[in-house]
């Protein structure tokens, strides 16, 4: 296997782990962390293609990953604020109990 294939296999497995965690767990913090793992797997792909893929711009993959990390940080902040808000209303953070988000 080439380097690119190894990197892509690594990121595929990491994505699958994150997806399984996000689907299987009912704790909303763990679901959010599963989403973060999937975003990390996407970042791995950016860097892998930048390094081992066909030549492109000199720093394109790096810049994409920087923007992706910024968006992931914003998503984590908003998601955790939502979780804290849900906890204040429902007194727990289990997703099956959070069907109703109004008021």
């Amino acid at each position: 296997m080439t380097h690119l294939q190894l990197c892509l296999a690594f990121s595929s497995l990491l994505f699958a782990v994150g997806l399984t965690g996000a689907l299987a767990r009912s704790n909303s913090i763990l679901v959010l962390l599963g989403l973060e793992l999937m975003l990390n797997a996407a970042n791995l792909n950016f860097i892998a293609f930048w390094r081992f893929g066909p030549p492109g711009g000199p720093a394109t993959g790096v810049v994409f990953v920087l923007f992706s990390i910024a968006v992931a940080a914003a998503e984590a902040a908003v998601g955790l604020a939502l979780i804290i808000s849900i906890y204040r209303h429902q007194k727990n953070i289990r997703l099956p109990d959070a069907r109703r988000l109004k008021g």
Partner: protein
């Protein structure tokens, strides 16, 4: 060179699986910090030092701390005994879906046309990244700044207590 990658990938995947399968939420968060450190190690291995240190600063430094605070703020009891009935019935389907996605992705990766050899590492310098960010990607950088501002203000608004009458939640 491959051995280093395989070691990094194994450590990252094992900690990620342990974090996703664990019972204790705090242990999960700390294991995920290890997993993010593994991803940063991959970035270092691939020659993207700036991204690796950004990953360490943002994920291990900031996001894991925010998640830890959220865990501690929403904790009910010390033993964290969650009723896991719904999650137990959903788990086999989740594993099936995850395995199917992994199989499809790995099949695509295995059929990937092999490049002849690893190209030389691109000359990635912080100066070049700065020039690109301030040049071609300046509008995107501004949009990301606006997005972060809006998202953080929105997070504060969402998490703040806005009951002027004073309630039991405020202390």
């Amino acid at each position: 060179m491959n051995a280093v990658l395989i070691i990094i990938a194994t450590a990252t995947l094992v900690t990620a699986v342990m974090a996703m399968a664990g019972k204790n939420l705090l242990h999960s968060v700390l294991l995920l910090a290890c997993s993010w450190a593994g991803v940063a190690g991959f970035f270092l291995w691939a020659g993207a030092q700036f991204v690796a240190f950004a990953q360490i600063l943002i994920y291990i430094g900031a996001i894991s701390m925010v998640v830890l605070f959220a865990v501690l703020l929403t904790r009910r009891s010390r033993d964290e005994a969650m009723p896991a009935t719904a999650s137990r019935s959903r788990k086999p389907y989740a594993v099936i879906v995850g395995a199917a996605v992994a199989a499809v992705l790995l099949a695509v990766v295995a059929d990937w046309p092999a490049s002849p050899s690893a190209p030389p590492p691109p000359p990635e310098t912080v100066r070049r990244i700065g020039v690109e960010l301030m040049g071609a990607y300046a509008p995107a950088l501004l949009v990301v700044g606006a997005l972060l501002t809006v998202a953080l203000v929105g997070a504060v608004v969402l998490a703040s207590v806005d009951r002027p009458g004073g309630s039991e939640d405020t202390q």
